[in-house]
């Protein structure tokens, strides 16, 4: 600390605590609402202490969905979200790490061309090319399938960059030693490079898992069957319009279920998360 100013310390703590309270307020109200009955919420103002219907609401949405909106069980949706998040995270890491390995450790014709080709995909976020991409996926017969949900999203310029940056910092001596010992490129990749990349892989995994879990526009377009909805889409489908018709207690229980897994990943894997976030953007 540069100097000792008591009032400044108190101010800092006060601002931080106020910030945390404001940021946490929606989450708290959401949780409270998820433990009430619909009638209790409609009786304005709703109580601000948790009610007694926690189990009733959560088991209702997990097993059967809502009454007035989408009636698909949220348990199934969470499974879909999990499959989507894992497939995107693992897929992105897998295809990016081998692509950067090729770009860094080989010299071959068109190397730079391929590198730039991956690079420019940064400039084509899915939102910009939704309709033609949707048509491509529809033509390939991938609507309402896990492949259609995940495959179009697994190309990743950022992950390729991250691994490229990392491989460039790996000492030359390692590859040299591997070659002298007679190891081929694949052996070197599996036994030397992959173990060294663990930290980067963990960091990327956290970021991409959240990215995959939170996808919205893409699953909104390509899932028309309730059994393929992801949790985030399920919430949207439960809101039927009109405050009195929407079963807010069930919507809020689903919202908690939708945000809990990625929030836990962020909080429990905080170290990797911070590293991944800061590095993927450089």
């Amino acid at each position: 600390m540069v100097e000792n100013r008591r009032w400044l310390d108190i101010l800092c703590h006060a601002v931080l605590i106020a910030g945390i309270l404001v940021i946490a307020f929606p989450l708290y109200v959401t949780f409270v609402a998820s433990t009430l009955t619909q009638d209790e919420i409609l009786r304005v103002p709703m109580p601000l202490v948790p009610g007694e219907h926690f189990w009733a609401n959560y088991s209702q949405v997990l097993a059967a969905g809502s009454h007035t909106g989408a009636a698909a069980p949220v348990g199934r949706m969470m499974l879909n979200s999990l499959v989507m998040a894992l497939a995107i995270a693992v897929g992105k890491i897998a295809i990016s790490i081998i692509a950067s390995f090729a770009i860094v450790y080989f010299r071959f014709p068109l190397r730079n061309f391929f590198f730039w080709m991956i690079f420019v995909t940064l400039m084509l976020p899915v939102e910009v090319r939704i309709i033609p991409t949707f048509k491509v996926v529809a033509d390939l017969g991938m609507l309402n399938s896990y492949v259609g949900l995940t495959l179009p999203l697994i190309a990743s310029a950022t992950a390729t960059f991250l691994f490229r940056q990392f491989f460039l910092t790996v000492p030359e001596e390692l590859a040299e030693a591997a070659r002298i010992d007679g190891a081929g490129p694949l052996r070197f990749f599996l036994d030397v490079l992959l173990p060294l990349s663990k930290t980067s892989i963990a960091a990327l995994f956290v970021i991409q898992f959240i990215y995959g879990w939170n996808q919205y526009l893409w699953p909104l377009l390509i899932t028309t069957e309730e059994s393929m909805y992801t949790t985030v889409i399920g919430i949207k489908r439960m809101i039927t319009g009109g405050d009195a018709l929407t079963e807010w207690n069930l919507v809020m229980a689903t919202a908690i279920l939708a945000l809990l897994p990625p929030a836990l990943v962020v909080v429990l894997m905080q170290r990797w998360f911070v590293k991944g976030l800061v590095e993927t953007e450089k």
Partner: protein
């Protein structure tokens, strides 16, 4: 920077690149080319015949008052989201950088909204502000303020801005905190010895030294407001009332999916692509050179 030691193989590098390139070609380049192609076409009402119309879709777009209005809305929306998000995050990060006790705890409690999907963030805030049952609506009414974002344009805008900023603060916060922690202690101490107070030190030393981070976050937040906030808007206002929160990306979706105007929607996609390319180019040009002071 290049490796001196490399492996040799005529086929292996291509095989390693193949999955990434295949996905890129099928799901990125091919649709992008199609978007450009459709943007020069006009489809009849039944989708049976298409006709090449050159730049007519673009001309129609920029004559369309709704589209120009949507441009204005997007500009306002992204300025508000970036401005508020960066300002609040900078305040919190500066405070968090000063405290010693409980720093990690504060960080943990501030970063979790990053994990919340934009659509879920929208639903959370829409519930708080819901016209009849919302708890904040109730408080506002008690204070004599008539709140109903379903009908009032500026209130709908406020709602989507609040939800979008709320989700993005944690991201900005982490980058500012990293930036603040990399500022050499000696500079701050030297200024303190020269008698500069905390405010003066912040504005003359810390803030200028943070300018690369601030600039980077500005670009990222604008991109976020342009594209990622689709979920916030679709889950809350759906562009309403009367287009008051219809940002460009929502209009692409609405015109293409709901109104099935392929040519017009594709032309909008192409305009958006141009904007992303410009933003990315700006970001790389300046972030690479680390603009500052």
């Amino acid at each position: 920077m290049e490796k001196r030691v490399v492996f040799r193989s005529a086929w292996l590098p291509y095989a390693l690149l193949a999955p990434q390139i295949a996905v890129t070609l099928v799901f990125f380049f091919w649709p992008a080319v199609q978007a450009i192609w459709y943007s020069f076409q006009l489809q009849d009402a039944f989708g049976e015949r298409t006709q090449f119309v050159g730049l007519a879709n673009f001309a129609a777009l920029f004559r369309d008052a709704n589209y120009l209005h949507s441009f204005g809305i997007t500009a306002l929306f992204s300025a508000l989201v970036a401005g508020c998000g960066i300002g609040i995050a900078l305040l919190l990060a500066t405070m968090a950088n000063r405290v010693i006790r409980g720093a990690l705890g504060y960080r943990t409690l501030l970063i979790w909204p990053y994990a919340v999907a934009p659509a879920v963030a929208g639903v959370l805030w829409a519930f708080l502000f819901a016209p009849s049952v919302g708890i904040i609506t109730y408080a506002l009414r008690r204070a004599g303020y008539n709140w109903d974002w379903v009908l009032q344009a500026d209130q709908a805008m406020a709602l989507v801005v609040i939800a979008s900023v709320w989700k993005q603060i944690s991201y900005n916060f982490l980058f500012f905190l990293a930036g603040l922690q990399s500022i050499p202690r000696s500079l701050i101490e030297a200024a303190a010895i020269d008698g500069a107070g905390p405010m003066r030190r912040f504005w003359t030393i810390v803030f200028p030294l943070l300018s690369p981070t601030t600039f980077f976050l500005l670009v990222v937040n604008i991109v976020y407001a342009f594209f990622d906030t689709f979920g916030v808007i679709d889950a809350t206002t759906q562009g309403g009332p009367a287009g008051a929160t219809q940002i460009l990306i929502y209009k692409v979706y609405y015109d293409g999916v709901k109104a099935a105007d392929l040519g017009g929607s594709s032309a909008q996609s192409v305009v958006l692509m141009a904007i992303v390319i410009a933003l990315t180019a700006i970001q790389f040009r300046f972030v690479e050179r680390k603009v500052q002071y």
